[in-house]
Amino acid sequence: MSTQPTRRNFLKVSAAAGGGFLLGFSFLTSCEQKAVATLAPELVMPEQWVQLNGFLKIGANGVITIVSPNPEIGQNVKTSMPMLIAEELDADWEQVIVEQGKLNTDIFTRQLAGGSQSIRHGWEPLRKTGATARAMLLAAAAQQLSVPVEELTTEKGMIHHAASGQQVGYGAVAELAATLPVPETVALKAPKDFKIIGQGKKNVDARKIATGQPLFGLDVQREGMLIASIVHPPAFGMQLKSVDDSAALAMPGIRKVVTINTAPEGAELQWSDTNAFPRLVAVVGETTWQVLQAKKALKLEWEQVSAPESTEAHRAAFEEQLTNGKTEVARRDGDPEAAFASAAKIIEATYSAPLLPHNTLEPMNFFAHVTADKAELLGPIQTPEFLEKTLVSVLGLQPEQIEIGMTRMGGGFGRRLYGHFGVEAALISKAAGAPIKLVYTREDDMTQGTYRPDYLVRYRAGLDAEGKLIAFHIRGTGTNGSPVFANRFPAGAVDNYLVENFGQPSNVSTGAWRAPQSNFIAGAEQAFLDEVAEAAGKDPIDFRLELFERASKNPVGEKNDYEPERYAGVLKLVREKSNWDADSGDARGVAAYYCHDSYVAQVLDLTLDSAGKPQVEAVYCAVDCGIVVNPEGAINQVEGGIVDGIGHALYGQLTITDGKPQQDNFNSYRLIRHPEAPKRIETYFVDNGIDPTGLGEPSLPPVVGALANALYMATGKRVYDQPFIGELPG
């Protein structure tokens, strides 16, 4: 978003407030009468709002609406981004209403949920938005009270003039403020003066969630809306050949059966259009159940358009690449071959992980109403801007003819970066000539993913006679690319270093899954370093700290993608908090990792029950993500990432046979459940005043390594192949 507020953004618009409007989402109007009264202390709604800029509306009574620009997938930006504005505005958080912004590239930029970057990118612009509005309110108050603006102070939505004892609320001066010039520059608070940032604020939607009010894409209801559901090919490598819809059309409530193509010839597609099945058949009808039944009555023929793949064939191809393949070198320091030749000890290990579906609990869905000259879309999407670009091309409309609203999302984890379901909804609506809500079943969703790729990585380490790490070699591959980051740790800490990256093209669609690449490579790297530390006869934390010391004092190479001091900092903090140097009595593993500009170190304690089943007793987690905007939400994210990481490393696995995913619902695909979660998680943040960095993803990757290392301590056997449950006895 623009850091310099423009006149265009600061327009004055007074809008009479209506009940539907105040609920935030216009689509809620139709179910409003069923909404349960919330527990929120009833804010008295203003007669009129003064729109101060694209983010802020202020009521005469002091109630403030803050628009949250970015998609909410459970990472809690709908609370934390408005907190940034409210901080510099000096708003009273108890008088703030948060409204989800629609896609609007005139006012907002980077309306995207991905890469754990919302807070990092919003940090300065959102605070400037708040500070600019505050400055205008102050200028208005100075005029109204006839006092110099320098003598005014603000607190919780009130403007005070100490000398005269006068005070005035934001609401009383908002209308005048909106007519005043937008200041060119504004000063931002020093972190020590923060009153909202750094305070735990509850999820702004928590009450609506706890009372079951409509929030999600699947909850959208509209007058005249029909339900649609797609059928995609049963296997990767296949496409739709023919459709016999006569039986389906004869079923009750069924209005239409349409075929669509989300990638027509000449369409200008985006990276976010990754999708294995552009040609689909869709059933359109009155109710979800009718549509789901009619899908089964379609007689469909498929044709093979590329060779069917399998999990076993992927693994064999990966093994062949890592054993015999030649590729370009991604990084080379020193003379690795000579160093390995001279090493006193060489450790080698190979790690693998399977394909993973995202399995957002809310399956893919989208509302669309497309007419000849207008497209209205509403639903769960992490990349609305890219969806709009694709719609422009596929529908032949101009951007101003397309409106995209974002619902709260029932999970994202990267799946809703790939917005083909939005395009599908639009094409179905157009073909059916009606507003429709596209609904995927769980089976549709799980068997048509943009999966976390399956991976294989081989590490070799050379130690000299004193146990010093002198050589390091990584060869990595995976479906549609390698998981290895060439310039991350331990690059920079080892004199002789070699990284070779492969990749295996595939017709199985893969994509970003919470902490892409890192979600696998962190666990592999941290498990391997544990094995190397053991071979060197060193404590695993001491061993890592020595490497960070080396990378800090005398780094190898110039392109190292981490700060060794901050890395060491979280490791030292977790060592202290977990009381690492004492015996916890449980099997413990440690890991540290850097991604999304943040540093995380974890110690995990586990026990095995009599059947050999692991129970995670505790996870100690140290995080350096700079300033923590909302500790309440931040701790929740860290805990979630840990549970997610443990769950998928232990149980997650999607296999492919003859191109067909073998798991399609939660009876065949195992997700971590309540009793399997860690009994305790303790989260500690490094307090360093650095501008905030990512937090939605960084706690996940290292826990896989901490778990692997703890399992080794518990069983005496190292685990190399995820899901680890397959490697454990019993």
Binding site: N203, A206, A210, T288, R408, R442, E639
Partner: protein, 153 residues
Amino acid sequence: MAQYTINVNGKPHQVEASPETPLLWVIRDSLGYVGTKYGCGIGQCGACTVHIEGVAMRSCQMTVEGLGEKPVTTIEGLSANGDHPVQLAWLEHDVPQCGYCQAGQIMSAASLLSQIPNPTDEDINAGMAGNICRCGTYLRIHAAVKSAATKLS
């Protein structure tokens, strides 16, 4: 298609549906109570949990015909003002991340506490094992159930 009168949240509702239609889709599509969520359709995830005669059941596994006149409570009807002790505990512990599973979690927790007012950790594990939270808020759910139990007893 047939006519049914079903008793949801203390009120009779006339609905037209084929007999095998799962209660889940009747309450979502026909009645518009969308707080009850679809997650798997096969009784594995718990997102569709409602109370039938006061006991937590998966609404995707109950047909409209099988339901008969048994009273159903959805998340919208759990309390008049959203102030059931379990709902309050969910706010106190700031449980939700994405929030999609939480209505089902709350309905399971309320049912658990009506049967076992002072549950042990093991009781909570057993009572909540059928509800998947993909975001991993299990520790907060666990703490919130304990909190609610304290307030209920």
